[in-house]
Amino acid sequence: MSSQATTMKISDLADNTGEWLRGTGPESDIVISSRIRLARNVARFPFLSRANVKQKKELEEIIRDKIKDSDISQDLCYLNLADITPVDRLFLVERHLISREHAGGEGERGVAFGKSETVSLMVNEEDHLRIQVIRSGFELKEAWKTIDEIDNKLEKKLNYAYSSRFGYLTACPTNVGTGMRASVMLHLPALGMTHHIEKVFNAVMKLGLVVRGLYGEGTQVSGDLYQISNQFTLGKSETEIIEIIESVIPRITSYERMARKALVSESREQLEDRVWRSYGMLKVARLISSEEIMHLLSQVRMGVNLGIIKDIEMKTLNELFILTLPGHLQKLEGRELNSTQRNVIRASYVRKRLEK
């Protein structure tokens, strides 16, 4: 594990994205990514809300060292979040390497992640340790296999707070038990357009699952991107929880495909017009807001999936969802930008990417 000049490290990341956005894997036309997160705390230390500065520092050191010792991955690098700028932290949030709460937190805290950005380990987030694995496409089982192994390696070095009754003990009782949140990110433009998305929400909620926006907790839905994840963490095993989510995803993806088919057969011209207009806008516009771009990219992405547009790669589109976010644009430009400046740079960046 290295901790090189951190700013350099982050700039290196700015012009590309993690492996999970490459648009491959099962059902990747609709399922963007599969993610699993585990919450863990170290025994005999208070949870972070009751830990003093000294204890936080001690925890950060212990966990960072144990991550280093446990040969999770050769190329893990560690960033201390207190040492980097707010723009860098925003960048890491957009990247899904840290959570918003972690970025906005206080005191000694950090993140370790690998080059491929599939694995990230947040130190001193809401819990002492949060392990996360993201994979491209519908691959929850594989994500579980990876994260379970990492957890086993760390558990040999760290004494986790655990009880046989309540499982892994977490700062918030909504995470206790498995400490696991498994989620699948879906692109559902046709269900949104045809107003059938509520039916999906109903079906999902009956199973005790929740729907969220792109950046988790309490975020707005934009770009027709939805995250479906488990609400309960206690009383069911990790595999059972994953199986529940896995059972509902194929129903949603086939529903989305049906809605797309219906749009093609019933209103082909309108659909094609919408897709081409969005594509045109991305290619010519001089000012694009972050909300607008999500909407345009969503339309074009569906157009590519339906074979209406043939000259853009899925990977490019998936990446543009992330690369055009405020933190990324500011990293790319190497300076702070206000919202108008960002809109200009966003538009020119997209034009350049789509010319290639």
Binding site: E155, E198, Q220, L234, K236
Partner: protein, 165 residues
């Protein structure tokens, strides 16, 4: 598309709100979107869900209100208002208040998932100790003091390095 709030500017912000199970779309210009953004209903975060649950299922407030965790100093009332626990011991100290909450939240109060191998060893040790203690009782009943002494030593040995509980 015109902004649905001011009806003048071009709508560039397309928001999707989810209220319960109902999805609502809003098409706004940037300015209007910014000005109403604070009023938008967001998807409730787990913390918000938690706070509303705490208020629903913790009527035994009087009974619990004086309880303070001796380890981290968190009071049950503080937990109720912030929804965050202060240390692992709180699961034991506030158990009475937590059980109905966990039941409501997860429809269960018993973990059935992964067991850390370390905790696994502790469990095995606990079971072994229980076994030895019942053997000891039997030995004493039978007045087999030689066997009892043997068992007692084994118990001391096993529980000596057991710093749990």
């Amino acid at each position: 598309m015109k902004c649905e709030s001011c009806n003048k500017k071009h709508a560039t912000v397309h928001l999707t709100e989810i209220v319960g199970t109902v999805k609502k779309e809003r098409h706004l210009c940037e300015e209007c979107a910014q000005s109403i953004n604070t009023h938008l209903t967001k998807i409730p975060s787990p913390t918000e869900i938690l706070t509303s649950l705490i208020n629903q299922v913790a009527p035994e407030i009087n009974e619990m209100s004086k309880i303070v965790c001796p380890v981290c100093g968190l009071s049950y009332l503080e937990f109720r208002s912030h929804g965050r626990l202060g240390c692992a011991m709180d699961y034991t100290i506030f158990r009475k208040g937590l059980i109905p909450l966990l039941e409501k939240m997860h429809s269960s109060t018993q973990h059935v998932g992964k067991v850390p191998s370390r905790a696994g060893k502790e469990l095995i040790k606990k079971n072994e100790l229980m076994q030895l203690r019942s053997e000891l009782n039997k030995a004493v009943e039978k007045e087999d003091y030689e066997r009892a002494a043997e068992l007692r030593d084994k118990i001391y040995e096993l529980s000596g390095d057991n710093d749990e509980d």
